[in-house]
Amino acid sequence: MMDALVRGSSGFSRSAGRRMNRGLASGALVAISLAWAAGQAVAQDTGTITGLVTVEATAQPVVTAQLLVQGTTIGTISGPKGRYMILNVPAGRRTVLLERIGYAGVSLEVDVPVGGTAVLNFGLEEVALGLDEIIVTGEAGRSRRREIGNSVEQINVDDILEPVVNTEALLQGRVAGLMISQTSAAAGGGAFIRLRGNVSVTQSNFPIIYVDGVRIRSDPYPSNNDRHSRGNASGAAASGINMINPNDIDRIEVIKGAAATTLYGTEAAAGVIQIFTKSGAGGGDPQWTMQSTITVDHMLKYGTDDFPYMRMKPFLKNAFGQEYDVSVRGGVNDVTYYLSGTLKDDDGVLPNDSEKAYGIRGNLGFQGINNLSIQWNTAFTRRDLTNTAQTNSAAGLPLNVYRGDRNYVRSDDPELLMGLLDYELTSRINHFVTGMSFRYQATSQWTHRLVAGYDFSFLEHRNFKPFGFLTDPQGVLQNQRWSNEILTLDYSTAYNITVRDGITATFTAGGQIVDNEENSTTAWSSTFPGPGRPTVGSGAVQLAEEDRIRVVNAGFFGQARFGFGDRLFVTGGIRFDGNSAFGSQLGLEAYPKVSVSYVVSESGFWKEAWGQIKLRGAWGRSGRAPGAFDAVKTWAASRYGDTPAFLPQNLGNPDLGPERTAEFELGFDGSWLDQRLSAEVTYYRQLTTDALFPVTLPPSAGNWNAQLANVGTLRNNGVEISVNATVLRRNKLSLDIGGMLSTNHSEIVSLGGTSQFKMTQGPAYVVEGYPAPVLWGNKVSNPDEIADPVYEKHFYGPNMPTTLFTASTTLRYKDITLSARGEYQGGHWMHSRLEEGDVQRNVKWPPCFDELERGVENMTALERSYCIPSAIKRDYFFRSGDFFKMRDITLQLPIPLVFAGGASPTLTLSARNAFKWTKMEVFDPEMAGQNGSADDVRTIRDNVPPPATFTASVRVIF
């Protein structure tokens, strides 16, 4: 067999020995657990199929195309230069199916000789519309894009040139309506994520995240905050989505609103992001990918010309990092595998910052039992983070530096300020996710799918101010151990029938249970006897806290879809949900949906010159559950010295239910000019009723937490437009350009009889008739007068961007590719708590130097309002949040080396955030957050902005 392969694969000059070693290695990895599968009979009369996959129009190779020998489970994935090889193919006339996102599916026939090799090359046609692409997310089973009535975004990671820093960066600026904004330069800090704006003002607005059908944590992890010493915080929160190694990702599907997320039920109103990791493919040689990346983080200038970096310059460094990735994918008989490992060691631009991480993944597929396919995906990631204290922290470095000598150190001497770096903030995050999915094809018409998954995050924060520390001389140590376990059990079944000629029906039903448990134990101590490295037991004062919260959400659904002539599809469905956080008086909650999809261009009257168009419309409902304790009347256990004590906590509301978001969206997908021009246009309108607003009780009836009640109504609407065009398409040269515009306008339609209220961060309010939330504060009404400022209350505008725009271009010449992508976020306002706090403290504010030289008597009211401490007013420093950043400029080119086996490495050079424009005079809109991305309102805090990242990466696939 081996000899035959060597003879038959003349295009692949690998040595038999090397291939055998790889085969043995990969085979050994899977053989132990898959012995039963290996027992399956291997056909004796087999041959090999090999060939190239290229773009027909340009002859460019296509990698990661999925090839499958029809009627078997044998297949592979195209490798570097588009090459592929499928082994052990039963001899005879065979049909090979090829699928790849962005290209039309192809099936070709070939005669496979016994013991020989058949050559079969594929020339693919690029398709902008991809009507027959398979979509999973939001669907009760697998659906073709043509059948779906709502907008679905799909990102194929192999189409992304730049070495991706993390999964958030991968998504940033690539999905219409998806806003991802960083919060600071903190190592390991996660980003603020919103899909189509805020659908809630009291509950989480983070979209829920699935990885291969398994729910993982979507909200940020807890920040490393000292829970008892006032205002000591790291200012960063890591995120669960970044625990997924971006190099393991095959594709990502994003559905944005209730019209699409109905089948996910109570927790999906803010959208769903589903990540699909890579899988193996049987029949070919193992495909190895090795990648080595070095990075340099460099802080771009901020501040003023006189005070670049606002005095932070001596503390910032160019941060070097390195990352090594290796993966192998392939298959043995009925078993496929994808195995990967990553190792990362990064510095941060802040003096104490660093991140060390490693991760491993094993994705195994079994197809050895009749009509049953099993996929078992498992990954483990560990990240060790060290951070410098930022944000509104008395021990924070930026806060004390920005305040000059009016700080808590009472000096602007960098030598003294270096003492703040004795504050140690370290975090270890372990993330383990495993999921097993079973797909059983009972008959040609009836399929079952069951996913059982487990997501486990463990985090240990140590927050240590040693004895003699500048702001806490007695020393403080806090150790927090936090974990989050999410169990997912998801079953669905689909039954397809042909009702009559041209009319098909698909009935699906299923159910889901998500059991989410979050536990935290915090030990805190202070007042150490002396220097040294203490434990929590070393302090004279010791406190302990424990939080345990479990929420169970479960539901079942049914859906029916009717297809007419394979071009008109009508879908109706409903999900019923229960949730342990609902009030005791509330039963199951129903979420209906209906959608229509019409591929109008396949109608008889349509002329080919009019292009290809799919019209779509969808309406659906989804929800957001209240917090675990919101429905129950509870008292907090406290103490008065040594005596236990009860304090009022939640008044409770037995009628409490979920927020109910109904969404209507209408749009079309189209392509014209021989697929050279494509567009997706969507209008959406969301109405969240029964929104959970805090109903403030009169304080004279007890100081209970404001009780949530389903009373509010808020609305979101907007337009999403994506346009891509191939300007030039030649054999050696091609040029693509793209643009993506999305808008979002929110409004509080009704407060439901409650009073307007303030969000937890900044002067952001929920006010009827205004965005959710709106920044409301003081404005100078006599700005140009030479006088003291006169203030009036003013609604500045939304805190969330109303406009997102991304422009991108890709230029290819032979094997060299240059791409660029810039993102604009705008239309929103941010409050600069940083500037307000500093000027208030008589800090001689650098942007005011010229004004101060002229003297107060010559200043206008506007100038006095932000330069003169006695003239400033709280809730005043509002700044436009508009900015543009060059998210990446990337050059990819081959290295003229050929390794044994014909593999050639590729060099990728990339610059991320290397250019920025912002309306802010001094700071950066992406330095927001008291608790990083966990804040409900983005407010400029004492952070440093995210740096520019320059990356060089070498990748070889063989």
Partner: protein
Amino acid sequence: MWEQRECRAKAACAITRLAVSGAMILAAAACSFEVTNPGPVQDEFLDNEKAFQASVAGMAKTYALALAGDDDGAIVKWIATVTREAFPSGNQVSFGVGPWAEQGILSPEIVANPWNAGQNARWVAEAGIERMEEVLGAAAGSDPLVAEAYMWAGFSNRLLGENMCEAVINGGPKESSQVFLERAVDQFTQSIAVAQSAGESTIRMAAVAGRASVYADLGNWSAAVADAASVPVDFKFGALYFNLTEADYNFWAWSKAGAPFLSFSVWNTPYKEYGETAGDPRVTWDFDPDIPFGGLSRPCCGQVPFFQQTKFNNVTDPIDITDGREMILIRAEAMLVTGDWATAIALVNDDLRAPLGLGPLVVANLTDAWTAFRFERGIELWLEGRRLNDFRRWEAAGTPGVYQPLEDANNTDTFLSPSRDLCFPIPASETTANPNLG
């Protein structure tokens, strides 16, 4: 093949299968909705008699927080600022009272925290009493915890009645602030009776002393003197503070911490010079050359020299909420009200100043006696949250005598507004949430 044999009507067959599948999932899901998370205590658990001790401790704690524990509420800092018992020198937000209160202006927009904290203390105590009496029935009349609960209710109502311009009870309509004081009298009276039955002498004495002060607030001097006379001069009852979390700390001790806030100074107050010259152990302060200024420059006067009070040095120092020495002051004031200034000053000199080794107050007439007495009361109760009510009731009664120069709002050196407020208005947090306040 079997489905083709058995299910001739395909659609019906499919629906049946879907229904069965759905039912299975529902059955699996339904059994998992009941989740009881640990931590917060469910309301019905407080009906357990054994939980009453913790309920009463909650009353004590909410009162201590309202007085001087919780930075957000701590009414002592507001009172000290407006009456210039202390001068703000730190952050205007954390540990501060904001620029308007620093000038003595207490507007409804800024006084939510002291109102909310005080009302919480009152509500917790009164609701607790209701629950305990319902559970205990007749036994409540001799239960020591019920006696203590009534006492805390009395002190909470006194705190509100002395400092709030108007009263609101449990989301009801606006009433005279005297309503708080009248409730306090009733609750102290009830506490005295139950404590008597329960044999709780300390609680009984604290309630008697508390009632004496409220009678004085109401101008019922004969009743005040009767109660005051029964309290030994060395009796003390305080709100307790603990070295646990910041909310358990004595505010005054914690707010002067060099790191991070340096919030209040004795600078530019009458107590700075008095403490420097009189040698009175009741008014003491200190200066550390390494910490020359407070944490934040003021719009009025730049960096504030940080003269830190030393009356409360530890975060665990209690703050007296009533004591026998205050009873002497009540008796002396009752005499002044009748015009018997000589006996009043003699009482102060003999029973309050002499035991501390201080020279006597020397006055020549009623007006001087009032002036001296007013400052003496300020000295005796310094930083204990009683000064605003003194100013308020003396202004209301047209009491003779004058302010000390550095507490007189008409003196520009105080940086106070001449229209200084002497009580806390009903805050916006109440008026917007209470439908009875329209």
